[in-house]
């Protein structure tokens, strides 16, 4: 299709329509995202105390931050604990996720050992990603809880003791949550990496073949370096999503009635669960947690944009493929 941009036809008198068309987005963004973000910053400097149905608000400087970081007397560093929990859950899922995704993507794009039913494989490995995460979390809980079917079968085979319970172990709980995340997201990463691999110029592989490179050499010296931008994209979107982790830990092993305390012993509580727990009772503290979360997210994005700019497009094969064509 027509690739050249018809610069000459553009007319200045229409420019007001451009502004008019983008106005709803910007007005709504300022009102419903930017303003709440700024007010979250503002709230984080105030102390909200509710006693006898009366809420008093007082400026308290950095007190909320000191409280959540455990720097004030009698306060525990909940923010750091929950940040640690969140990172543990994310790392345990991301490393196996990206490794498996790389492997599967390499297999499905391998031109020498062409596999059949590629479409079916893609459909099935991606499927868990679309199903309601809340339901999936509770499903795993129901399957793995103390008197659930899986533990009962293991017990009857004598593989676990009669009193063993995955839900009372910190590592069993963390590993299960990470497994659910891994299981839900590796299909997504695989599809993104396949798209990235398809974008690599095939003549590079032909050149490598002529030089007698093995599959392994081609993967490590051609595919991986050229896949860096896509890998980085997968890493950053996963990291930012991982920091906001809510649905799975909020419903897996949290005790009855949704108390939002990740069992056992608060070791699977994430930052967003903490925000949710505080949102109506202590606005100031919840806001301070949000601000710190925002700053961490911002740092990750900035690193990403920096590295991405430097790498963008180098050596990649632009087929001029139309999106959606």
């Amino acid at each position: 299709m027509n690739k050249e941009k018809p610069q000459r036809i553009k007319s200045v008198s229409y420019s007001k329509y451009g502004l008019l068309f983008i106005a709803p987005f910007f007005i709504a963004y300022i009102l419903f995202s930017l303003w709440p973000l700024l007010s979250t910053f503002y709230y984080s400097f105030f102390e909200y105390v509710t006693r006898n149905l009366k809420t008093t608000v007082e400026f308290c400087g950095l007190q909320n931050y000191k409280n959540i970081l455990g720097l004030a007397d009698g306060e525990r560093a909940y923010f750091l604990t929950y940040l640690g929990n969140t990172l543990r859950l994310w790392i345990l899922n991301f490393i196996p996720q990206v490794l498996l995704a790389l492997l599967i993507a390499a297999w499905l794009t391998d031109n020498r050992a062409r596999l059949r039913a590629k479409g079916a494989y893609k459909v099935l490995v991606y499927m868990p990603n679309i199903i309601t995460a809340a339901s999936i979390s509770l499903l795993f809980y129901a399957l793995l809880c103390k008197f659930g079917p899986v533990m009962s079968t293991l017990r009857s085979w004598g593989l676990v003791g009669s009193s063993s319970d995955l839900m009372t172990s910190k590592w069993a709980t963390s590993l299960t949550i990470s497994f659910i995340l891994f299981w839900m997201w590796y299909g997504n990463s695989t599809l993104l990496l396949i798209a990235g691999m398809m974008g690599i110029n095939p003549s590079l592989y032909e050149a490598a073949d002529i030089d007698g490179a093995t599959s392994r050499q081609k993967f490590f010296h051609v595919t991986l370096p050229l896949l860096k931008p896509v890998l980085l994209y997968v890493l950053v979107t996963s990291a930012i999503g991982g920091l906001q982790l809510y649905d799975i830990p909020a419903l897996y092993n949290t005790g009855a009635g949704g108390g939002l305390i990740g069992l056992p012993n608060d070791t699977s509580t994430t930052i967003t669960m903490y925000i949710m727990r505080l949102h109506s009772s202590d606005t100031g503290r919840a806001a301070a947690v949000s601000v710190l979360l925002f700053i961490i997210t911002l740092i990750i994005s900035l690193i990403f944009f920096r590295v991405f700019r430097e790498d963008d497009g180098r050596g990649r094969h632009h087929k001029g493929k139309k999106v959606g064509a």
């Binding site: 553009k10 596999l115 399957l143 009962s152 009855a256 967003t272």
Partner: protein, 286 residues
């Protein structure tokens, strides 16, 4: 000689890869299969261990499920209707306004265009959760708390969809078409609605699926905004399945889960082709 052993190696490699991939597909389906099986078994049967064969307690579980949800103030079907009431307008607003914004950015030249585009790119990575507290307070102030509006209106601002739509327009729409429409006397807004939108159908459809799924599966924002039982969404209903009234009966829990998962399950297998294509496209950064 060498070619023959190469072919053998290749075949062995293919067999190995197929086995691993079939295992992974099996792994994707297994939890759902066990869920459907357990939905048809009694609580005691479930406590006795895993079974791969369907039981005969489906109707008993249905009856117990129906009586267990009485005290909740909302039924599972009611919560699905609620989720639909949010997800449908959310989807429509999201794809329409994203297409409009993307078109405004693509077809016109104006001052600040670069700044505006930079802004959209910059906020693409900002997750809702970081300003949820401010949003929650704001919704209390303007009296929209416990209504569906706060869950629908943000659809107007979905930067990632705008980004995708603009990429699409670059490939699918030449500005000559718009110029021709102008000569025919078509107004700018009219041109967008009658000429540009139909041209964008494939992009609109793909993004509509993802926006619908996003809204349908969302748990965090509804939990923050909705408090009346009768207004609870499907994901909030799932959260209620952790309550004691359900925990006592395992068959009922599995049945409840099966009911909550079924709509997405069916939708996925009908639309899977578009979804898988859509995910692949989302990652192609040009």
């Amino acid at each position: 000689m060498k070619i023959e052993s190469d072919a053998k190696l290749l075949r062995r490699r293919k067999i190995f890869r197929n086995i691993v991939l079939v295992f992974l597909c099996f792994l994707s389906l297994l939890p759902f299969y066990l869920m459907f099986v357990n939905a048809t078994r009694s609580s005691n049967e479930i406590k006795a261990g895993i079974s791969f064969l369907f039981g005969s307690s489906l109707s008993a579980n249905l009856k117990n499920f129906a009586s267990a949800q009485v005290g909740l103030g909302i039924t599972v079907l009611g919560s699905m209707v609620n989720s639909f009431k949010i997800a449908l307008p959310f989807t429509v607003l999201s794809v329409y306004f994203s297409a409009l914004t993307a078109y405004g950015m693509y077809a016109y030249n104006f001052k600040l265009k670069k700044v505006a585009w930079g802004f959209i790119m910059a906020v693409m990575m900002v997750p809702t959760q970081v300003f949820a507290i401010g949003y929650y307070r704001f919704m209390i102030q303007i009296n929209l708390i416990d209504t569906y509006w706060p869950l629908i209106i943000p659809a107007i601002t979905t930067p990632a969809v705008v980004f995708f739509m603009r990429q699409y327009l670059q490939g699918a729409l030449s500005l000559e078409i718009i110029e021709a429409a102008r000569i025919d006397g078509s107004g700018e807004f009219h041109t967008f609605n009658t000429i540009v939108l139909p041209l964008m159908k494939p992009a609109l459809a793909t993004q509509a699926i993802f926006q619908f799924v996003f809204s349908w599966n969302n748990l965090f924002m509804p939990t923050l905004i909705i408090s009346s039982s009768s207004k609870k969404t499907l994901t909030m209903f799932v959260q209620m399945l952790t309550a004691e009234s359900f925990r006592a009966d395992y068959g009922v829990v599995f049945l409840g889960l099966a009911i909550t998962i079924l709509p997405m399950f069916i939708m996925y297998f009908i639309l899977s082709k578009f979804i898988v294509e859509g995910v692949s496209l989302g990652g192609v950064k040009e």
